[in-house]
């Protein structure tokens, strides 16, 4: 018959309340963590930006001679790559790669809001008319875009894209343009979302893209 100390009823009541609050808080925290930690996709061909990067406006022209600006990137997901029409090898090859990617994407519902844009970084030779000859040859669904250097740079600089026109080998002759090989993914809110670096494997690119779309849907 030992005497045990007896808590006051108020203290017991407060302890119970505290315990209940602790449990509820724990449950809320766990739910928050779970929501933010949807498993990130395992990507084979691309890098997902830690946070999508908002882009500032730019004023370019498409191959139909219509204005092409940031607004044109809203509402669908866009693969953008950079090059020039006098490029014999990598630019046509990238056109073929993206054609192959789109074949896979178009076999899924994501095809309805995915498109491809080719930006020429050689405005001297690549007029909208020239792009209208060039781009549809590879794929009638692709859009060609160009503009003066100042306007090109307002897009390329914020996307980490570089280009450089070399001197012609002969005076007045043809010249080559060095340019970034990356393919950018812009989301439907016109934000830089992911980057696909060379070498570009169409199957891996398509698989990454479809995973990125699913992941984006999960965390919206």
């Amino acid at each position: 018959m030992n005497d045990t100390p007896r808590r006051s009823p108020i203290a017991t009541f407060l302890l119970v309340i505290a315990a209940v609050i602790a449990v509820l808080a724990g449950m809320w925290a766990a739910q928050q963590l779970l929501q933010r930690q949807q498993p990130q996709p395992v990507l084979k061909a691309s890098t997902l930006l830690p946070q999508p990067r908002e882009l500032a406006d730019f004023a370019l022209t498409d191959h139909h001679e219509r204005p092409f600006s940031l607004d044109n990137l809203r509402g669908q997901w866009t693969f953008i790559f950079f090059g020039y029409t006098f490029c014999p090898d990598i630019c046509p090859t990238t056109m073929a790669v993206l054609g192959s990617v789109m074949k896979r994407v178009n076999a899924t519902p994501r095809g309805t809001d995915t498109r491809v844009v080719f930006v020429s970084v050689d405005p001297e030779r690549d007029t909208p008319a020239r792009l209208a000859e060039y781009v549809p040859h590879f794929n009638p669904d692709f859009t060609g875009v160009t503009g003066a250097d100042a306007q090109l740079e307002s897009l390329t600089r914020q996307a980490g894209i570089l280009y450089h026109r070399n001197e012609p080998k002969q005076p007045g002759g043809g010249y080559e343009v060095d340019h970034s090989a990356s393919i950018l993914l812009i989301d439907d809110r016109a934000r830089l979302h992911a980057v696909f670096s060379a070498p570009h494997n169409p199957a891996d690119m398509a698989s990454d893209y479809l995973q990125l779309r699913d992941y984006d849907e999960d965390i919206r």
């Binding site: 029409t85 006098f86 490029c87 014999p88 090898d89 990598i90 046509p92 090859t93 073929a96 790669v97 054609g99 192959s100 074949k103 896979r104 020239r130 000859e133 060039y134 040859h137 590879f138 570089l162 043809g174 080559e176 060095d178 340019h179 970034s180 090989a181 990356s182 670096s197 060379a198 070498p199 570009h200 494997n201 169409p202 199957a203 398509a206």
Partner: protein, 158 residues
């Protein structure tokens, strides 16, 4: 007898038709990517086999183009550029592949418009004095969904 000879010739033609060879040098799977209307440059690709002593590819010419240079696409730190390759080493009993985003022949100023299915006749010159006539097929250059060339003839050197 004549029929047998004709049959043999036909079969040989079919078997070896996609390959060109002269001396120790052979080219196979030679193709040119079809270019859009108004294009002034096209690219040609092929696999070169050297069954003889080491030599070099030093020049390529064609009646169909004003000039032809050998280039290599180089992608370094995400930047793509082209390097001129004045002479291409062909090791003894070796193989060198010209393929998209790598070594390629830059065919400049076509004298006619080419479309998929046409043939482009090229003459390759080598340091050892040999020349090789190569007939390259113009192809759309599409890839299948896995990035493979659906038209590639896979040649295994023996």
């Amino acid at each position: 007898m004549k029929t047998l000879l004709n049959t043999w010739l036909l079969l040989s033609g079919l078997l070896f038709g996609s390959m060109a060879h002269a001396g120790g040098l052979m080219a196979d799977n030679a193709w040119v990517r079809a270019a859009p209307p108004g294009a002034t440059v096209m690219a040609a690709y092929m696999v070169l086999h050297n069954h003889g002593e080491a030599t070099q590819l030093t020049g390529v010419s064609s009646d169909a183009f004003a000039s032809i240079d050998l280039h290599r696409t180089v992608i370094e730190k995400d930047m793509a550029r082209m390097e001129a390759v004045p002479a291409l080493d062909l090791p003894m009993h070796g193989m060198v592949t010209l393929e998209p985003n790598g070594l390629h022949l830059m065919l400049m100023n076509p004298k006619a418009a080419f479309k998929a299915g046409d043939k482009v006749e090229l003459t390759l010159q080598f340091a050892n004095g040999e020349t090789l006539a190569v007939s390259a097929e113009v192809r759309a250059g599409d890839m299948d969904a896995d990035g493979a060339d659906p038209h590639a003839h896979h040649h295994h050197p023996h």
